[in-house]
């Protein structure tokens, strides 16, 4: 081994390792590490790669169902969607890089999540994005929105995968830490899934894609560190994405996957070549022997440390069957991508790297993975929210509606999604603007429904309810279009887990999510954790973003929110107690954030949802919208605007009825002739249902008050975001 200076305590600290962690390294190696080895341990044991604070809790989430082919632990989750097909999907965060360089940070976030999905053999068929920004008034917000949206579009559009939905929130809690969570859904043959466990002693280890440069070194450790003023000074290297190369890499990998050459394959994500090699070797219970000088390099004079820790984008690692190198290389040559045999699988159980034959690092694989720290961080039970103080209506209901639709929380996101190609691949059935997007399963009459959701203000007020609500809302959104919810991925964005209050939020959200997943039969098959989202001790709102998919067995039978006919009855499904705590109404119009969030009754959620889905699947309902932010009146207005059909609404006068955010509710538009029967069916199944209005005309009317025209509402709804972004 090359002689290197001994490691100093400062170097250990700079690598984000504690003294105890360093002691474990000394025990594992039986000697002092050199700098490259220290770097390898530090990235492998970073929060980002090792999940050291979250692991114990993640294990409590349900991950199984008869249709789950592969749960958490691989690059992405895999579920059986019938007809011999599988959906492969995952969500991932790129929060810190996007704050520093919004365009490239967001773009490379999309690139990374795409690779996680196609590395398992899927052709990506849809992207989603869940975005959280600071207050609109904050100096940086506009610039961040502009760059992030352009970056997501810039990458996804170029690669040719439609972006079909997402969400955008604004809250001062994200001023210093925005959240950029990207999700990809792919489609594969259920019997052609590729995994990452290496096997076959002596098999070639092959590197493909772009060359390795000095970019993103320490990216994984950066993603696990809290921000301070020095961060902007340190100017950490943010990677520049190359979507064109990614597109070639997708095509080349899928072409290779159609041959019989691959033993194992894994993308190089956080911690690059190190993490991918170690994971492949560990899963297969083998060793990896790498020739570092064979790694294609963009710059001269890169040290082994730099090569091993680089986070250059658009790279993959593959273990090939022996003797198939030439066949594989021909494919990558055709796509003008780098291809290099960089080592082989060994029986040593060690991860070894050489430069010019000389060993530059040598670490036993098992302990590198298994001895990684795992913390049971102390946590405190979150304080129960105080009861809601009395609420007096802010203003007349129609004026309130207009103000809400024209505000930052509920205004149309069209300005965002029109920068995304939503229709490339020609299989998009329902674009952004509805509850769940629908993408046709290519070449069939079936579809996938996809939604992302999370209501962070609920999670802050009562983490357990908030965690359950996020899962329930995704399930509800998928149900609203008539699809059968199958499974979720998550992206758990929180503050500093070393603070017991934050850890308490984390634990509470996970517990709530777990309960919802179990009751709704909606397991978690993949996910990602992003901690330390705080600046100057100010943490973000707890944000467990959930992405879910469902399947539609017959595309002909799906629903969407646009009112289609005059003379339909608008039926409200679900119990309306008029819950105003933590609502948008309270927050935007009364500037209050008190009270508990709406309670989530998962049994009721399931019963109501199953009822609605059955009606859609039976072809009896084609117009449906779930109720969420803003409550009944907002949902009704959204249906009216989308279908360009007016509504005459009737019900009690209290604000809670029209703006409360009670859970487990839907609005259906049902022809007069079917109404009685559907109400009767609901009664039989103990599902609360009542008629609250009738469709027709070109205006919205509430309890025979003054009508407000759809054109006026639409103008208000569409204007806020473009006006806000006018001078970005």
């Amino acid at each position: 081994m090359r002689n290197e200076p001994t490691i100093t305590p400062e170097q250990v600290a700079e690598h984000g390792l504690t003294e105890d962690e360093y002691q474990t390294i000394l025990n594992v190696l039986g000697r002092e590490p050199n700098l490259t080895e220290l770097g390898i341990f530090s990235v492998m044991w970073s929060e980002h790669c090792s999940y050291k604070s979250s692991k114990v809790w993640l294990k409590t989430l349900p991950t199984e169902a008869p249709w789950v082919i592969c749960g958490p632990g691989e690059n992405a989750g895999v579920v059986d969607i019938g007809d011999g097909k599988a959906a492969i999907f995952k969500m991932e965060s790129h929060n810190h890089p996007s704050f520093i360089e919004p365009y490239q940070g967001a773009a490379t976030g999309v690139g990374g999540i795409l690779r996680d999905v196609f590395t398992m053999g899927a052709r990506p068929i849809a992207n989603m994005n869940a975005l959280r920004f600071g207050a609109p008034e904050d100096d940086k917000t506009r610039h961040l929105v502009s760059g992030v949206v352009a970056g997501i579009g810039g990458y996804g559009n170029c690669v040719g995968v439609p972006t079909v939905g997402g969400e955008v929130n604004f809250d001062p809690a994200y001023n210093g830490n925005i959240l950029v969570n990207a999700m990809t859904v792919g489609l594969a043959d259920a019997d052609r899934i590729f995994y990452s466990a290496a096997a076959g002693i002596g098999n070639p280890v092959v590197y493909v894609g772009s060359k390795t440069g000095r970019d993103g070194i320490h990216g994984a450790t950066m993603a696990s560190a809290e921000f301070d003023d020095a961060t902007e000074e340190k100017r950490p290297t943010v990677q520049v994405g190359d979507p064109f190369t990614e597109k070639l890499l997708i095509e080349a990998c899928l072409e290779l996957m159609a041959t019989d050459t691959i033993v194992a394959i894994q993308d190089m994500g956080a911690a690059g070549l190190t993490c991918s090699s170690v994971e492949m070797a560990d899963k297969g219970g083998v060793g990896f022997d790498l020739d570092i000088d064979k790694v294609p390099q963009r710059e001269a004079g890169m040290t082994p440390y730099e090569v091993m820790l680089s986070e250059s984008q658009e790279r993959m690692l593959i273990v090939l069957r022996p003797g198939t190198e030439a066949q594989a290389q021909a494919i990558f040559d055709k796509w003008q991508l780098d291809f290099a045999v960089v080592g082989h699988v060994s029986d040593s159980g060690r991860f070894t790297g050489r430069v010019a034959g000389e060993v530059v690092f040598d670490i036993p694989v098992r302990p590198l993975v298994e001895e990684s720290p795992e913390y049971e961080r102390p946590w405190v039970e979150p304080k129960a929210p105080a009861a809601l103080a009395p609420v007096t209506a802010a203003m007349e209901h129609m004026a309130a509606l207009k103000s809400l639709l024209a505000g930052p929380h509920l205004s149309s996101r069209r300005w965002v999604w029109e920068q995304y190609d939503q229709t490339v691949m020609a299989d998009t059935v329902r674009k952004p603007g509805g509850d769940a997007a629908i993408v046709r399963i290519h070449g069939s009459d079936r579809g996938l429904a996809i939604a992302t959701d999370c209501t962070p203000r609920y999670c802050r007020a009562e983490p357990r309810q908030g965690g359950a609500q996020a899962v329930a809302e995704v399930w509800r959104n998928i149900t609203s279009v008539g699809a059968r919810p199958l499974a979720i991925t998550d992206c758990l964005n929180f503050g500093n887990p070393e603070r017991p209050e934050i850890m308490g939020e984390f634990v509470g959200c996970i517990q709530g999510m777990g309960e919802a997943c179990r009751t709704l039969d909606f397991p978690v098959v993949s996910g990602n954790v992003s901690l330390y989202n705080e600046t100057h001790g100010q943490a973000i709102l707890p944000t467990p973003a959930i992405g879910g998919i469902g399947v539609l067995d017959d595309l002909e039978r799906h629903a969407d929110l646009a009112l289609r006919r005059d003379g339909d009855n608008l039926i409200l499904i679900g119990e309306t107690a008029g819950h105003l705590g933590q609502t948008i109404y309270l927050r935007q119009l009364l500037n209050r954030g008190d009270g508990p969030p709406p309670p989530v009754d998962l049994t009721v959620e399931r019963r109501n949802g199953d009822f609605v889905r059955a009606l859609i699947a039976a072809g009896r309902v084609d117009t449906c919208h779930d109720l969420s932010d803003g409550g009944l009146l907002v949902a009704a207005a959204e249906m009216a605007m989308a279908g360009d059909t007016g509504l005459d609404l009737n019900g009690p006068e209290d604000a809670g009825f029209w703006f409360g955010e009670d859970q487990g509710r839907y609005l259906l538009a049902v022809p007069e002739a079917d109404t009685a029967e559907i109400l009767q069916l609901a009664e039989q199944q103990q599902v609360p249902a009542q008629s609250v209005g009738r469709t027709g005309g070109e205006a919205l009317t509430l309890n025979a008050g003054a009508p407000i025209s759809l054109a006026e509402l639409r103008r208000a709804h569409e204007a806020w975001l473009p006006d806000y972004m006018r001078n970005d």
């Binding site: 490239q104 772009s210 520049v240 710059e299």
Partner: protein
């Protein structure tokens, strides 16, 4: 006064555009082309006539808008009218 600002990726940052141009030049049969980098050139007409003041103001423009110094460098050239 005229200012020319050249914004380019820092050394070590991947320049996908430059890379693709290099590939195409090679495909077109141009030989002996090594590294290719693509940057931006922004030309500004300034009312300011004092060179030192103009440079200071253009520097501020670069820091605030024209370049993102996380990944980009900038260079300023001034030219009397």
């Amino acid at each position: 006064m005229k200012a020319r600002v050249h914004v380019s990726y820092k050394n070590g940052v991947l320049d996908p555009q430059g890379k693709a141009i290099g590939l195409t030049l090679a495909n077109l049969g141009f030989e002996g082309v090594g590294d290719v980098r693509q940057g931006k050139l922004i030309e500004l007409d300034l009312a300011e006539s004092d060179a030192a003041a103009a440079r200071k103001s253009v520097e501020a423009m670069c820091e605030k808008l024209l370049a993102n110094t996380v990944i980009e460098n900038y260079a300023i050239e001034l030219e009397e009218d």
